[in-house]
């Protein structure tokens, strides 16, 4: 007895070993096979023959692979894709297993996006608080006692720290406004939020690293000063 499911699984495996490994590509080709087999079967062809004919019509894996390779990404596209990946958005891999009842499967539900953004921002928030409450005053003391001038960039940090609540409020107000007034926001919500989180994380990490470097530079001077 011919088992279509097994035949399809075997065909997928063949494609994969032939170098056509992308799940979405195989999903699409599989959907095609199923449609074609179904149509032939309705016209009176046995499933086994229909499947063999469909696979033959789909073509050799080498030919398919080289056709797909022709539309691979170049240069700037590749950079953009890498950035999206860093931000945590797998491209060309629409979220299939989310909520199938949702009218557009490719748009992440609002609460998912916001929860994820909040979770990924949490470590940065902790580091930022630590840096502002502990590291920054400490650095100030060190710099004063060694007579080392605080580099200008650190003035920015104290300005941001003094007004963190204002900036948070502004950010939330902006998001609320976008949700409320702009219908197209839905489409850009995920990429904008994730990019912002990525940039904030990177910035906090950079500030933290710079503070540590300054402390390391100043510490030996302090020991000279006390001597």
């Amino acid at each position: 007895m011919f088992d279509l499911e097994r035949a399809i699984a075997e065909w997928r495996e063949q494609m994969r070993t032939g170098g056509l490994g992308k799940t979405t590509v195989l999903d699409e080709l599989e959907a095609h096979l199923r449609d074609d087999v179904g149509a032939q079967n309705e016209a009176g062809v046995a499933v086994e023959e229909a499947f063999a004919a469909s696979v033959a019509r789909l073509g050799q894996v080498d030919a398919l692979r080289s056709e797909y390779a022709k539309c691979e990404l170049r240069g700037r596209e590749r950079l953009w894709e890498a950035f999206l990946l860093l931000v945590g958005i797998p491209t060309h891999q629409p979220a299939m297993n989310m909520n199938p009842a949702h009218s557009n499967l490719n748009i992440e539900p609002r609460w998912t996006t916001y929860t994820k953004a909040a979770v990924f921002l949490a470590p940065a928030a902790v580091f930022w608080t630590f840096a502002v409450l502990f590291l920054y005053p400490k650095l100030n003391v060190i710099c004063q006692s060694t007579g080392l001038a605080m580099p200008g960039a650190y003035g920015m940090v104290s300005f941001l720290a003094d007004h963190s609540l204002v900036f948070c409020g502004l950010g939330i107000a902006l998001l609320a406004l976008l949700e409320w007034r702009w219908n197209g926001w839905e489409k850009y919500r995920r990429v904008s939020l994730k990019s912002t989180v990525f940039v904030l994380n990177t910035a906090v990490f950079a500030v933290f690293a710079l503070m540590l470097i300054l402390a390391l530079v100043a510490a030996p001077m302090m020991s000279h000063a006390t001597r």
Binding site: E28, R57, C71, E77, M96
Partner: protein
């Protein structure tokens, strides 16, 4: 059978024209092209998909996965603004080729 090179050259304008009428998915696109060409466009079915892929990369079409009536998932494609522009350009070029050919053909019989 229509020559392979001509089939390849006409793939993009054919797909764009089909999608200009509304969104569709790979299998339906292939069937439609086969019927319209009286089965004389020698497409291997699989060749359509890389072309769709390429058009999407170029930003002329977009895709989304959705569930069909029978519960199976399908990848639907639809035209974007750039695709419409590209289609207009294709139309213009094909019309030019057609005009040149038919003009010459008429002269042959004078």
């Amino acid at each position: 059978m229509i020559r392979k090179e001509l089939v390849a050259a006409s793939a993009e304008p054919l797909i764009l024209s089909l999608l200009a009428r509304g969104e569709s998915y790979g299998y339906a696109i292939i069937q439609e092209i086969k019927t319209r060409s009286g089965n004389r466009m020698g497409w291997t079915d699989g060749m359509l998909y890389p072309v769709l892929h390429r058009l999407e990369r170029k930003g002329q079409i977009k895709s989304r996965w959705a569930e069909a009536e029978n519960g199976r998932k399908r990848k639907y494609y639809f035209l974007k603004k750039d695709g419409k522009k590209a289609l207009e350009e294709h139309d213009e070029h094909w019309a030019m080729v057609h005009a040149a050919l038919s003009g010459l053909r008429k002269e042959r019989y004078v």
